[in-house]
């Protein structure tokens, strides 16, 4: 897959994992696991990128006598998910056309 495209997809994936409630690294990986396997290093890079782009915020809180980082989606992050869904509706209809015309192998 095109690297740029994949990056965009993974970004939205991680944003969706924290869409309803703030979450932490391990939980994000676990929640995504049924759909895609993501390594810790990949997740770290994505979280960093999303934080810089102000699509999520980070806070450190104590949990069980140790520190844990929690990630929370921002308004811009929610907007990114909405944009993605809109874009992909178009992509899906193109895909349907392509499959139909090429005999859906």
């Amino acid at each position: 897959m095109d690297a740029q495209l994949k990056r965009g997809l993974l970004d939205v994936c991680v944003l969706s994992a924290i869409k309803n409630d703030e979450s932490y690294g391990y939980k994000i990986i676990k929640d995504m696991k049924p759909y895609l396997e993501m390594s810790e290093s990949t997740l770290y890079t994505i979280l960093k990128r999303l934080e810089t782009a102000e699509l999520l915020t980070v806070r450190t809180a104590e949990h069980d006598g140790r520190l844990r980082k929690y990630y929370k989606i921002t308004k811009n992050g929610l907007k990114r998910i909405e944009n993605f869904k809109e874009e992909w509706r178009e992509v899906m209809s193109i895909y349907k056309f392509v499959s139909k015309e090429s005999g859906n192998e």
Partner: protein
């Protein structure tokens, strides 16, 4: 391997990167291990699931753009003294040309290797062409009433077809190895740049 050793290995591998980045990464991986243990896994299991330090370090370094590493490396840790700058300017004609020469050597080395890989494809093409010629000769010579010589050409043609197919896979293999070598060299270069910085 326990958590402490694991994080220590990563820290060692990332030596030379900005301290803040390294600490952030370390705490990230530490948190992952703690969360796995909270789920009931043993420390060893939790570490094993997170990956090997070597894999993680290679992945991290491969992700950082070379320009960032070089910038980080070039930025002086203290302001240079006047005599250092003077010396640098004085020797810059030599240093600069040495640098260019070094880059040229590495570049030409890879060019030679690359053309070697490509030339294999040319040989392959030639063998394939020879097989076509053999088939053609077989038909023409047999038609002219010389079947034994024709059969010899058929044999040559079949041999060439086999050789061409074999060579094609061989060439693919060599070309693939070339790109692996290129990638590894880049990684090695990055690692050496990072490594040197903090070794005082």
């Amino acid at each position: 391997m326990n958590k402490q050793e694991f994080l220590c290995e990563i820290r060692k591998g990332l030596k030379g990167l900005p301290e803040k980045d390294v600490e952030e990464r370390i705490s990230f991986y530490g948190e992952m291990i703690d969360d796995r243990m909270e789920e009931g896994k043993t420390e060893e299991q939790a570490v094993a699931e997170t990956g090997t330090p070597d894999e993680i370090v290679s992945g991290i370094i491969a992700d950082i753009p070379l320009s960032k590493i070089v910038k980080e490396k070039i930025r002086p840790k203290r302001s240079l003294k006047v005599w250092e700058i003077t010396l640098f300017i004085f020797f810059s004609p030599i240093l600069f040309s040495l640098l260019i020469a070094a880059i040229a050597v590495v570049f030409s080395l890879f060019t030679v290797l690359f053309s070697l890989a490509i030339s294999l494809y040319a040989v392959d093409l030639a063998v394939a062409a020879a097989s076509l010629y053999g088939l053609f000769s077989f038909v023409v010579i047999s038609a002219r009433g010389n079947p034994s010589v024709g059969a010899a050409f058929l044999g040559i043609a079949i041999f060439c077809i086999g050789a061409a197919i074999l060579l094609f896979y061989g060439s693919n293999y060599v070309l693939k190895k070339f790109f692996v070598l290129l990638k590894n060299t880049a990684l090695l270069f990055k690692r050496s740049v990072i490594g040197k910085e903090k070794m005082k």
